[in-house]
């Protein structure tokens, strides 16, 4: 069973977060489950904006993305054998090499691939794979070995490491904010799991009364509850929220995207991230989650729909960043807790599997294919064996993008990949 912390790769105490954000290494999350850094520390101490800092955007494909139908080995006879009904036909795949093609929903990503802005790391996984959503997610988030249980996450440890020995600043500024866009339409209720919404506070009696409440709440939020108590935690969160509310609202409200984002919550999250980057937030790592990839049954439509959302959202985000000349600063990387079983099941779906490809996107990405594809000469119901350890991808992001040593973060040495130009 996984820990209660939905995203254990994030810092776990407010002090930890403050000292981290003090160095301009904040995090921002857009997902239904705010990673604990938000929960624990929405307050952020902010140094002067450092606009040249590199930024990493993590995109979680929750549920276990079917890698074989995402990057399709269309010419491999084994693929046809393993996927007799849900395999993507040759003439539908979007070719990216003589043997591989993207899922037909991924036209926007194919464009990025051809422009050299999309890299695909093939067959990423880890030894002794676990088939539990929660445990495998935890392994990815903590960057642990399959049999180890770590209580900290890899980004959290990166921040620890980057900030060791430096004094933390202390001011309230909008760094770590869970932004909820109020969506007043009840009809949109169906299936909208992730609501990247910013909860604007509608004051009951107008501005004056809101101000009165805010002032009174500030007195209670500045009182010190017992350390580590729920009360103290709530006070900190409230104080941070009070200060943050106005500022983030201003940034998002004033933002003019330079690309057309699709109308879905995932794209809205990415647009908000672009707004905050453009607004000069010193946040270094953003987190957004897209779910619905747990495709056990009749997966064709669901999977196509998810990939379309992913592909179009990522492309809009990239184009927006380019138009704002922020693209040189931002790298986006997807991950999923596992791929799916190569052989389809009898329900025209796929069960939990192991390794899968992941995407890296950005103007400084070395585009194209990285690593080696999985060997598919497998008997029915056998999983693929990974060829690139996910910690190698992390090591690359740490060493070559965030400019941090990876060994102390990953508790071991993992080879880097040539992903960054």
């Amino acid at each position: 069973m996984a820990s209660n912390n939905p995203t254990p790769f994030l810092p776990t105490t407010r002090r930890e977060f403050l000292s981290l954000t003090g160095r301009g290494i904040g995090l921002l999350a857009f997902s239904r489950f705010a990673p604990s850094f938000l929960v624990k520390a929405a307050s952020a101490a902010v140094p002067s904006p450092e606009k040249d800092r590199t930024i990493l955007v993590l995109v979680q494909l929750a549920g276990g993305n079917d890698g074989l139908n995402t990057v399709v080995p269309f010419s491999d006879g084994n693929y046809r054998r393993l996927r007799p009904t849900i395999g993507i036909p040759d003439d539908h795949v979007l070719r990216i090499s003589d043997t591989l093609g993207l899922h037909p929903s991924c036209t926007a990503m194919q464009g990025l691939f051809h422009d050299g802005k999309l890299g695909i790391v093939q067959n990423v996984g880890y030894p002794n794979p676990n088939h539990s959503h929660f445990r495998s997610t935890e392994i990815w988030e903590t960057a642990s070995a399959s049999g180890d249980f770590l209580s900290t996450g890899w980004i959290g440890r990166y921040m620890d490491n980057a900030c060791a020995g430096r004094p933390g600043a202390d001011s309230h500024d909008p760094l770590a904010v869970h932004i909820n866009t109020l969506n007043g339409e009840p009809e949109t209720f169906i299936g909208q799991r992730e609501h990247p919404t910013f909860g604007l506070l509608a004051g009951g009696g107008g501005r004056r009364e809101s101000e009165e409440t805010r002032k009174l709440l500030e007195t209670i939020a500045s009182e010190t509850g017992a350390p580590n108590s729920e009360e103290g935690f709530l006070q900190h969160t409230l104080m941070d929220a009070l200060v943050t509310e106005g500022k983030v609202q201003n940034i998002l409200g004033a933002y003019r995207p330079a690309a057309a984002y699709p109308a879905n919550p995932f794209a809205a999250s990415l647009k908000n991230i672009a707004a905050l980057i453009a607004g000069g937030m010193p946040t270094r790592v953003y987190f957004v989650s897209l779910n619905g990839f747990d495709t056990h049954v009749n997966q064709a439509d669901t999977h196509a729909n998810r990939l379309k959302t992913l592909s179009e959202g990522l492309a809009a985000f990239q184009h927006d960043l380019e138009a704002h000349k922020l693209d040189g600063q931002v790298m986006t990387m997807t991950f999923s807790e596992f791929g799916r079983r190569p052989s389809e099941n009898e329900s025209k779906g796929t069960d939990h599997g192991t390794a899968a490809p992941l995407f890296v996107m950005g103007s400084r990405v070395k585009g194209g294919l990285h690593g080696t594809p999985p060997a598919l000469n497998l008997p029915k119901n056998q999983d693929v064996t990974y060829s690139t350890d996910f910690r190698s991808v992390y090591a690359t992001m740490l060493e070559n993008w965030l400019e941090s040593p990876s060994e102390p973060v990953l508790n071991g040495k993992f080879a880097t990949l040539p992903l960054v130009v």
């Binding site: 705010a34 209720f189 509608a202 209670i220 709530l234 969160t237 009898e346």
Partner: protein, 497 residues
């Protein structure tokens, strides 16, 4: 967290001498939604055992099947033949209509459950059902069919205080579960492991208590589970894998029910539900294994009697220990229902007034984020969800503007009025007795009525100063008392129970 009791003493019944109004408040806030003064008085007088017998009665009231659910079932049955003969274009239209009706029935059910659970006599038992639904999870987003979600909750409620293995078997036959975890796709010649895996990992045992082999074998035992077009569960023997299976080292021609019994043969099954209970009712911090084992062993010996478990848990010394008082974060459901009960309000019978705030606070009824259920505790709170809680508080101090309502909504509001259930907004009449007090007494009254722990001196002082600034103007005084109450309800301490 330091625990004040040993594992041996933890589950002893609370001594009668320790049952008092404070203990009653704690029980009512944790087992139910909040501690209304009248309920505290009643429980204090009755005693703990009688109170528990009342909160978890042998024949608990059940949520009546909402009319829209009934109608949706009938409509779906009627749809079948028409659908078969329809053209592709007509099929799309029919399909969309059916989804919309199911969606409307689902929203209506959400509103009705909240109204039902808001009644003090139903609170503790409905919270228990909500807990069970957070273990035996199904989600509307995948199941889609509102009547099946209703039946799943009904099934949980009917089995909520009986034997846990019987509940587990009923859950495995729940049509919503069959759809939610793909049981109908689990075929003899091609087992689908989804249900078997979650059964062991999340429903009965927890990770580490089974092998991948156990899952594969168990999946075979759950073959042959099917739904009729109307949504009834049916066992199809010809689809069932009749072969020999080996699960937990035992070999036989096991059925799904047999596998559930085998799982309950393991000590881990005695620990799993108590572990979930502590997380749902007591604390984010897991209890050490020795404490769980000290409850799990006797529970197992009781024949896994869920009624026994509620009495033992909520009547224990550990449940009332000081380290568990006033320091657990309310879920959005509890926040909403406690707000209604504390302010003596009726819930607005309109989905968009109820379901939207719930969503913004992070909890969509009948639709947990995934099969693991809601994580809860501190995970409920971030700056966005806190803002949503504050918005909800502000909203119950604002009258509903009839011009903002649709015709259908007006009908609902008028019907609530005719039934005498339209006290949706905090009125001046509620506030006037407090406004009549001097500022110190007003603050004392407000904070002791609504907060589970006394607020810090700085907050008390600033509230008092704020109210005092309104004297002697009666209107301004009343306005300031209202604003002070709003602030208290938006404060960190009001998030706790």
């Amino acid at each position: 967290m330091t625990l004040s009791l040993s594992p041996q003493d933890a589950w002893q019944p609370l001594p009668a001498g320790e049952w008092n109004a404070d203990a009653a408040r704690h029980l009512l806030r944790r087992a139910g939604w909040t501690a209304q003064p009248a309920e505290v008085q009643r429980a204090t007088q009755e005693g703990l055992a009688a109170t528990l017998a009342r909160l978890f009665p042998p024949q608990p009231p059940l949520l009546p099947e909402p009319a829209m659910i009934q109608r949706n079932e009938v409509e779906r049955m009627d749809l079948g033949p028409r659908y078969m003969q329809a053209s592709p274009e007509e099929k799309r239209v029919l399909g969309r209509q059916e989804r919309e009706r199911s969606q409307a029935a689902y929203l209506d059910m959400s509103v009705r459950w909240l109204q039902f659970a808001a009644q003090p006599d139903n609170s503790a038992f409905q919270k228990w059902v909500l807990f069970l639904s957070d273990v035996y999870v199904v989600g509307f987003e995948k199941v889609h069919r509102a009547p099946l979600i209703y039946r799943h909750f009904d099934l949980l409620a009917r089995n909520a205080l009986g034997s846990a293995p019987a509940l587990g078997k009923a859950v495995s036959h729940s049509p919503a579960m069959v759809l939610y975890l793909d049981l109908a796709e689990n075929k003899r010649e091609a087992p689908n492991e989804n249900f078997a895996r979650e059964l062991f990992e999340l429903f009965l045992l927890g990770e580490g208590n089974y092998t991948e082999k156990d899952i594969k074998e168990a999946a075979r035992a759950f073959t042959g589970y099917r739904l009729r077009p109307g949504g009834e569960f049916v066992f199809a023997p010809r689809q069932h894998d009749m072969g020999v299976k080996t699960v937990f080292g035992q070999t036989g021609y096991f059925t799904g029910d047999d596998v559930i019994d085998l799982a309950y043969g393991l000590p881990a099954a005695g620990i799993w539900l108590p572990r979930k209970m502590t997380r749902f009712y007591l604390s984010d911090t897991p209890l050490p294994g020795a404490y769980l084992a000290a409850l799990g062993g006797p529970w197992r010996a009781s024949g896994y009697d869920l009624g026994w478990l509620t009495r033992s848990f909520f009547g224990s010394r550990l449940f009332f220990a000081p380290e568990f008082r006033g320091n657990f974060i309310k879920s959005p459901v509890q926040f909403y229902l406690a707000l209604l009960q504390d302010l003596d309000l009726d819930g607005v019978p309109l989905p968009r007034y109820v379901v939207n705030p719930m969503r913004q606070m992070g909890q969509v009824l009948f639709d947990p984020p995934n099969v693991r259920g809601w994580v809860g505790g501190r995970n409920w709170i971030n700056s966005g969800s806190l803002a949503a809680r504050r918005t909800l508080v502000e909203s119950v101090f604002r009258p509903i503007n009839p011009e903002s309502l649709t015709a259908d909504e007006l009908v609902e509001i008028r019907a609530a009025g005719a039934a005498g259930r339209d006290h949706f907004t905090v009125t001046d009449a509620t506030l006037e007795p407090i406004a009549g007090l001097d500022p110190a007494a007003a603050v004392q009254s407000l904070t002791s009525d609504f907060l589970p722990i006394p607020p810090g001196p700085a907050f008390q002082d600033s509230l008092q100063g704020f109210i005092a600034a309104g004297h002697p103007n009666p209107q301004e005084n009343l306005r300031r008392v209202r604003r002070a109450l709003i602030t208290i309800l938006e404060s960190p301490d009001y998030q706790l129970c």
